[in-house]
Every structure is written in structure tokens, then in C-alpha cells.
């Protein structure tokens, strides 16, 4: 694909000198960014670098202190999301804004209803247009399918369709691949390429280096609110981008060294677990994690990993089977008993389980140990001990915060996760369970957390790692188990594992029907 560099043609979107100040911080500092028609432009930056602020400004959710936005060369003032949409700017959010019980067509019509008359929707016309758009961009979708029954990858396509249905010329995708398998990612990229070819401008926000290199025509890197560089993929590599993004050289792959597995610590046999509605979501799982090894569970999100982990830590009832910790039956243990038995757990959803966002960092630091000495003396809390532990944890695990008294909700995602890690890692452990430990984090934080995990392993802790991020599983695990629809379909050796083979197992559970399922080359493992 060639990009015509037309000197006369104005960029579809240009942001000029955008500055946004919040009390105490400059979130965006004179940012220049432009996207040409038919271009895929990636915006790369760590969490907290100012990507979200910039997008909020583009979407009319925030007003810049300085600078202007130009569409097709003409300055505009965007007053809000509906104004942005009316001007052809559409955003596909990281967390889908879809109603699961509605059909594809209903979701797409929501907010921009095609009416047959003042009372009824024109479903027929809507379906026709949806099919037509799908065909044009290479994905055929049934407008009458319930969104809740679609895979995450297809749900994302519904989001894109929603934008196209509104005649989006400029499409902003915020971390679109965070929830996808490698195959789904590749498919979405294909859709994006087609969109670009048809003249749409795409702004692709990400912090995944290899993705940006693969999909973008141009990459703008921002750090601490400033543009620190612009690159063409053919003239750069991951190390260069990472250094730009973080401001120092980063080791993209943590040297995991050699593991020295010892005695089995966690042994699960015949485990069955049901979800909140009583449907079996973990079926007959056998698993063993030894001291000093990392067992990674690969799988597309929603294949029972969360329920498996919740059952182990005592948050969810087990329907069958048993769980042993160092030879002791802990099947019926409650979370506190597991905690006291030397099990730490970094939950997938740090906002829901891991942290109490309105509480201070100090309170969060003792969330699981607040009741024991030295943090409590009888029924009273000992704030001197709590403050001391908080200060130590913050320093040791590099949590960036103005003080231990601010609420956890004010921290960036990376720092929130470091706070959870500081709390869970900083004591002698038998078993450490990491569920999506680096979801939504930037390279710097990921590197840090991976190093800490390796350190814990080398100290003899058994680690169970669950991640929808296949690269993470591949990078850290000594052994890899693939989970598909509640069962473990394969267990392979970590260091020698093949990414595509595992990706395929994740997507199909191993039942490959024909050659079409083989994914395209996605490059080397990052």
C-alpha cells in the first residue's frame, strides 16, 4: 500500500499546539498532531502521558487552554461528543459501550435512530445498511444477532460499524486490542487497513509497540504531555520506540533466567466451578504449581480463568474437586484463611477487588492485613505502623504519588497496580496468584512488575499467572496451560512454546477444522 503524500491536501484532522493544564499538572503541553485522509496514525505513550486528555479534547469532553483543532484545514470548536460525531469523529472505546441484550442493529441504532416514521424504527433499512457496510469492509455480520452472544472480537467490529454507520471519517481507537487474541487482533487490523484504503483516517492509541509498528503509517510518541518524537515504522524498532516513550532504555523482555522447581505447592484435582448464575464455567481442571516456578494460563478472557482463580483464593465456591496447598486440603478455605496460609492474589480487576479507590494509599496498603499486628492493637488501628508500612511500600515498589494520604483513585493505572503489588508481594509467600497483572499498564510498569514476579519465583514462591496477554504468558511462564471453555486443553513447556500454536489453542481449543484457521504471520514474540 502506498501513501500518497499530497502537499496541497489538508490533513483530515490537525491538532495544533494543544495545551491543557489541570491544577498542578500540564496534561498536554503544546501537542501537535495531524492525521491525513487514509492514514493510520498511531499515538503511542505510557499511561498518564496525556493520551486520554488529548482524546477528550478531540471529543469535546475537555476544553484546551491553548491551541486549536482543524478539520480539513478549517478551525473548529468541538462542544461535545455529539458535536464530534456530527463532524465525523468517532471513538471506539477500550471498554465497549454496547448493550448485550440488544441486537447488533439495535446497538448501532442507539443514539442515532433511523426512523420509518416518528414512532417506529426502520429496522429493515438499518439492517440493509449494516449488511452493506459489513460487506464493503470485509466482515459480514448478522444485524439480528444479540451482541451478548458475539465474541469480543466481533463486539469490537460492532463498535466500528457503529462509527461507520454514523459516517465517521475520523476513527479514534483507544487500545482496541487489549481484549483480543492474536488472531482477532490480526482480523481487526485487516478491517482497519480496509477502512484506511477507503479514505478513512484512523487514530490508533496504544502502548503496545509491536502492534503500532505493524499497523501504523506514522507514529507519534508522547511523554509527560509532550510530543517527543514522530517515526515511520520502517525507520524504527521497538527498542527505539520504548526509549522514546519511557525516556530511558527499557528491557522489553525480562531475563527470566532458569527456574528451579521444587515441591508441588498448589495441587488442584477435578475442580469444577460455577459462575454467578450457576452455569459450570470451570470443568474438571487438574493443575499443579511447584515452588519456584511460574505456571502461566493462557486463554481468551472469559474462558473460566477468573472463576478458577477466585475458587482457589476462596472467593468462589467449588462445585467439585479439591484444592491442596502444600499437602493440606484448602478447598473450603475462606479468603482470609488462604491469605494467612501464605497465598497472595493480585486480582484481574484492581478497581473491583484489589483496591478501595476512595481510600488512601495507606489504607489500601493494609487492606488484607489491617486487623493484625502491627497494624492493629486489639480493636484499634495503629496509624503509626500503617503509615510506616505505607511509606516503605511506596518507596520500595516505586509507587509515584504525592503522599500516602491521597486516595488510590487519583493514581494512574500503573501506580495503582504497583500499590497492589507492593501489598501482596512484600511478605514471605507460598503461592502467588497473578490474574492479568499488567492489564492496561505501560511498558515501564510492566517491566517492573515482571521483574518482581521473577524475583518472587527465584525466592521459591509458586506463581500461577493468568493473562489474556499471550506475550506476557510466553515471556514469564516456565510452563503454559491453555484454558478453553473452562477446561485445560493443553500444557506445554514455557521457553519453547510456539506463539501461533498457543494462539490457535486459545481460539479453538485445539479443534482445527481446516487451513483457514491458521493465523497470518504476526512476527516474532515481543
Amino acid at each position: 500500500m502506498t501513501i500518497e503524500v499530497d502537499v496541497v491536501q489538508a490533513p483530515a484532522l490537525e491538532m495544533r499546539g494543544i495545551t491543557k493544564r489541570y491544577p498542578g499538572v500540564v496534561a498536554n503541553d503544546a501537542i501537535d498532531l495531524d492525521v491525513k485522509p487514509g492514514e493510520i496514525h498511531a499515538l503511542l505513550g505510557e499511561n498518564g502521558a496525556g493520551k486520554t486528555t488529548l482524546m477528550n479534547i478531540l471529543y469535546g469532553l475537555a476544553t484546551p487552554n491553548e491551541g486549536q483543532i482543524l478539520l480539513d484545514g478549517a478551525p473548529v470548536t468541538i462542544t461535545g461528543p455529539s458535536d464530534a460525531i456530527a463532524r465525523g469523529i468517532n471513538m471506539v472505546h477500550q471498554h465497549f459501550m454496547l448493550v448485550p441484550v440488544f441486537t447488533v442493529a439495535e446497538n448501532i441504532l442507539l443514539g442515532d435512530e433511523t426512523m420509518a416514521n416518528p414512532i417506529f424504527l426502520d429496522r429493515k433499512e438499518a439492517s440493509r445498511r449494516i449488511r452493506e457496510l459489513g460487506t464493503r469492509f470485509g466482515f459480514e455480520i448478522d444485524p439480528d444477532a444479540k451482541v451478548g452472544s458475539l465474541s469480543v472480537g466481533w463486539q469490537q467490529r460492532v463498535e466500528i460499524l457503529k462509527a461507520l454507520y454514523r459516517d465517521a471519517r475520523i476513527l479514534v481507537l483507544d487500545e482496541p486490542t487489549a481484549v483480543l487474541t492474536p488472531q482477532e487482533t490480526e482480523e481487526i487490523f485487516e478491517v482497519l487497513r480496509r477502512l484506511a484504503k477507503a479514505g478513512h483516517s484512523i487514530l490508533f492509541i496504544s502502548h503496545k509497540l509491536y502492534e503500532v509498528l505493524e499497523i501504523a503509517d506514522r507514529i507519534t510518541v508522547i511523554r509527560r504531555g509532550k510530543v517527543v518524537g514522530e517515526r515511520i515504522p520502517s525507520e524504527t524498532d521497538e527498542a527505539d520506540l520504548a526509549e522514546l516513550m519511557v525516556g530511558r532504555s527499557v528491557e522489553l523482555t525480562v531475563d527470566r533466567g532458569v527456574s528451579h522447581p521444587g515441591e508441588p505447592v498448589l495441587r488442584i484435582s477435578g475442580l469444577g466451578v460455577a459462575d454467578d448464575r450457576g452455569n459450570p464455567v470451570v470443568r474438571d481442571v487438574d493443575l499443579e504449581v511447584k515452588a519456584g516456578e511460574i505456571l502461566g494460563i493462557a486463554g481468551v478472557a472469559g474462558n473460566g480463568q477468573d472463576e478458577l482463580v477466585e475458587a482457589i483464593v476462596g472467593l468462589r465456591k467449588v462445585t467439585s474437586g479439591r484444592i491442596d496447598l502444600s499437602g493440606e486440603d484448602v478447598t473450603a478455605h475462606r479468603p482470609r484463611e488462604m491469605n494467612e496460609a501464605g497465598v497472595a492474589y493480585v486480582p484481574a480487576d484492581r478497581h473491583r477487588f484489589g483496591l478501595v479507590l476512595p481510600f488512601s494509599l495507606a489504607d489500601n496498603m493494609v487492606l488484607t492485613s489491617y486487623y493484625r499486628s502491627p497494624f492493629a492493637r486489639g480493636p484499634l488501628r495503629d496509624f503509626d505502623a500503617i503509615d510506616k508500612a505505607a511509606a516503605e511500600g511506596i518507596a520500595k515498589y516505586d509507587v509515584r504519588t504525592p503522599s500516602a494520604d491521597v486516595s488510590a483513585g487519583t493514581l494512574s493505572g500503573g501506580n495503582q497496580q504497583k500499590l497492589v503489588v507492593a501489598r501482596e508481594f512484600d511478605r514471605p509467600l507460598k503461592l502467588l496468584i497473578l490474574d492479568q497483572p499488567t492489564r492496561g499498564l505501560d511498558v515501564g510498569s510492566i517491566e517492573f512488575i515482571h521483574r518482581q514476579a521473577i524475583r518472587m519465583r527465584d525466592e521459591g514462591t509458586a506463581i500461577l499467572l493468568v493473562s489474556a496477554e499471550l506475550d506476557e504468558v510466553l515471556e514469564l511462564s516456565d510452563r503454559i496451560a491453555v484454558m478453553y471453555r473452562g477446561s485445560l486443553v493443553a500444557t506445554v513447556d514455557g521457553p519453547t512454546a510456539d506463539k501461533n500454536a498457543i494462539g490457535l489453542l486459545m481460539a479453538t481449543g485445539g479443534a482445527v477444522r481446516d487451513g483457514r484457521q491458521t493465523p497470518p504471520e504476526t512476527g516474532v514474540v515481543a
Binding site: P335, F353, L357, D363, L367, Y370, L380, R381
Partner: protein, 382 residues
């Protein structure tokens, strides 16, 4: 004022404004709305000359009647006492993520417990009579809070529904008691005996009973419980994030039962204070709207225990001054209900206020909005 950081520029007045700004604005706006209501009522009663200054007359009478004299101040304190205690009850519930609409029923049951034991102990030494009658009030109230607590913990029944139903049951139980077992034999109307020696001693002015001090003491106790004990930490964690509480090994069900019982205890103490400190007997018409006003008290104070002293005093002052307002300006005391309700509306509409008035540096969160608006589907118990 030389510091450049936003935090540094915000001195102590700024921080007070951040916390109290919105309630103060809500109160002032409600007074304005009240003025319009007064003017409107003048228009509806055209036989008297229209007086533009009637709201001013009314409000100055309200102020004079609440803080204008020593007696007025004592009256304000007496009115504020049950509001503060019941306000603490509602606020404690909010802190645990529970919406205790049942303060009214718990208040009534507390009064019933106090009058029952008070009448029985009427001839005993005051220390004994007062202590036992007060404990009975707290125990009855706590039991009335325990019921919705255990229902929620066991079956997930929403406390809003169960406490409202228990309010009605409390009214009926009370009516039955004063017209049946507790009724003075031969009396033409349903009324109980006097509580005699169980009556609270008067410690301030002519009517300022010891319950006022109890209310202040309980404020400190609730604050200490919430912010200095591990139990309070558990309570607040369950309220702020029940999932994280389970993750942290706490027991949300136990906390819910305990908190609801404590809520009931506080509201019951409020009821005991009214019976033992003010009325000394109970009739079937006993009971004001204390338990419901308490919701407004708690919200106005953002569920902060010490804030509740202020909001309780404010609402108590309005109740105390209402009589003089009626005498001087001819405005019925129901205007107080209008103002109180309007304050609530403005508080709940805080985001709108912030936008319309372009308020800066003011915290708009009620600290309880999420509890009030939480859907029935996502419960703390699972």
C-alpha cells in the same frame, strides 16, 4: 497567597468551603425558594394586603425563635438531639453502603422500649430507672435494625424495602401498645403512665435534658468507631467496595447485620431521649418525622459524624423557631418541611448546581449518592 500550587493557595477557608460550600448554598437557595412559597401563599389568600417583606418577617422570627434567647437556644438543642442521633444512624448506614430508611421505625421502637421500661421503673432510684429505660430504648431500636440486617445478609432482601415495611409495623405496634397493655386503665384516650424517675434530668435551662450530652457523646463514639477501629475500617470498606471487602477477607454479611443493629441502636436512643427527656408519656400520636428528617440531616452533613452536629442543630433550630414564625408572621410550621425538602433536592442536584453556578473548589459528592442510587441487582451480599 504567593504560592503557585493550587493546593497551597487553598488555605483552611478554602478547605472548609470545599466541604461546606455546597450545603451552605443549598440552604441559602432553599430559603429563597421558601420566600417564593410565602409570596405564593399570600396570593392564594387575597383577603390580606400583599406584603413583600413577609418572608423577611418570617425568617427573622425563625431566627429569633431558634437562637434569639436562652430559652430559644435550649429549645433548638432539644429539637436537635433526636435529629443528631437519628442522623448518626442514617449516616452510619451510608458508610456501610446501606440506606437506612428505617430510622423512623427504629426511633419509634426505641421510644416504646424506653416508655415500657420507664413506666415499670418509675418508682425506682433515678440512676437505675434512667439507665435501664435508656438501654431498653437502644435494645428495641437495635432489634428493629437487626431484622432488616439479617434479612439482607441471609436472603439479600433490600434494606430500603424491608425498613420501610418495618416502619409501618412499628407504627402499628406502638398504637397497639399504648391503647392496650401500656394504657392507663380508665383513661378516655390511649396514653401511658408517666415515666417518673426514669425521666432525664434537666441540665441546661428549663428543658435541656441530658440527652443532648448523650447525642454529642454518641457523635464522638460513632466517629471513633468508624475511623479509629478495625471494625470501622471493615464497615467503611464494605460500604465503599463490598467486593474488595470480600477479597480482603472481611465478612460483608456480618458487617451488614452489625451495622444495621447499630443504626437501630442509635435511632432507638433518639426515641428514648424524646420519651424520657421531653414527653415523659406516650400517646398513639407519638412520633414526629424525626427518622425521615434524619436522612436529610445525614445527607446535609455528607455522613460526617461531626457535620451531623451542625446539620442536626440547623434542622433543630428551624423546628424550634417555627412556633414564633407562626405567631409573628402567620406562616404555618409546614414551611420548614418545604425548606428541608428543598435543601435535599438541591443537594441531590449538586452536579447541576455546580454547573449552573459555576462553583469551583466545591466538592459535589454527597458520599451517599451511590448508596441511594445503587441498583437492586448489585448487592453487597453474594
Amino acid at each position: 497567597m504567593t504560592a503557585s500550587g493550587a493546593e497551597a493557595r487553598r488555605g483552611i477557608p478554602g478547605r472548609i468551603w470545599a466541604v461546606a460550600g455546597l450545603p451552605i448554598i443549598a440552604i441559602l437557595l432553599s430559603m429563597v425558594v421558601g420566600a417564593f412559597v410565602i409570596w405564593g401563599s399570600e396570593l392564594l389568600l387575597p383577603d390580606t394586603a400583599f406584603d413583600w417583606l413577609l418572608p423577611v418577617t418570617a425568617y427573622s422570627a425563625l431566627i429569633e425563635g431558634s437562637v434569639g434567647s436562652w430559652n430559644a437556644i435550649v429549645s433548638t438543642l432539644t429539637q436537635a438531639t433526636p435529629l443528631i442521633l437519628a442522623g448518626l444512624s442514617v449516616a452510619l448506614g451510608f458508610k456501610a453502603g446501606l440506606f437506612n430508611i428505617g430510622a423512623q421505625g427504629q426511633f419509634l421502637m426505641g421510644a416504646l422500649g424506653a416508655v415500657t421500661v420507664g413506666v415499670m421503673m418509675a418508682d425506682q432510684p433515678p440512676i437505675l430507672a434512667i439507665t435501664l429505660a435508656t438501654i431498653a430504648g437502644m435494645a428495641f431500636g437495635a432489634f428493629w435494625g437487626f431484622i432488616p440486617g439479617i434479612l439482607k445478609a441471609v436472603s439479600g432482601a433490600h434494606e430500603v424495602v424491608t425498613t420501610i415495611m418495618l416502619n409501618y409495623i412499628a407504627i402499628s405496634v406502638l398504637a397497639w401498645a399504648v391503647s392496650g397493655p401500656l394504657k392507663v386503665p380508665g383513661s378516655p384516650s390511649p396514653i401511658t403512665f408517666d415515666v417518673g424517675n426514669a425521666a432525664y434530668p434537666i441540665v441546661i435551662g428549663d428543658a435541656g435534658h441530658i440527652g443532648i450530652l448523650l447525642a454529642l457523646l454518641m457523635t464522638v463514639v460513632v466517629w471513633f468507631l468508624l475511623y479509629r477501629t478495625t471494625l470501622g475500617f471493615e464497615t467503611r470498606t464494605v460500604g465503599a467496595n463490598p467486593d474488595a471487602a470480600r477479597y480482603a477477607g472481611m465478612r460483608p454479611r456480618t458487617i451488614i447485620v452489625l451495622t444495621m443493629s447499630l443504626c437501630g441502636l442509635l435511632a432507638g436512643l433518639a426515641g428514648a431521649g424524646v420519651v424520657l427527656g421531653v414527653t415523659h408519656t406516650m400517646t398513639s400520636s407519638f412520633g414526629t418525622t424525626v427518622g425521615f428528617d434524619a436522612i436529610a440531616v445525614a445527607l446535609l452533613a455528607r455522613s460526617n459524624p461531626f457535620g451531623i452536629i451542625f446539620s442536626g442543630l440547623l434542622f433543630g433550630a428551624m423546628r424550634a423557631g417555627a412556633t414564633l414564625m407562626q405567631i409573628d408572621a402567620g406562616i404555618p410550621p409546614e414551611l420548614i418541611d418545604v425548606i428541608q425538602a428543598t435543601i435535599l433536592l438541591f443537594l441531590v442536584a449538586a452536579p447541576v448546581l455546580q454547573r449552573v453556578l459555576r462553583l469551583r473548589g466545591v466538592s459535589g459528592s454527597l458520599g451517599a449518592t451511590e448508596t441511594i442510587t445503587r441498583s437492586y441487582g448489585r448487592e453487597a451480599v453474594s
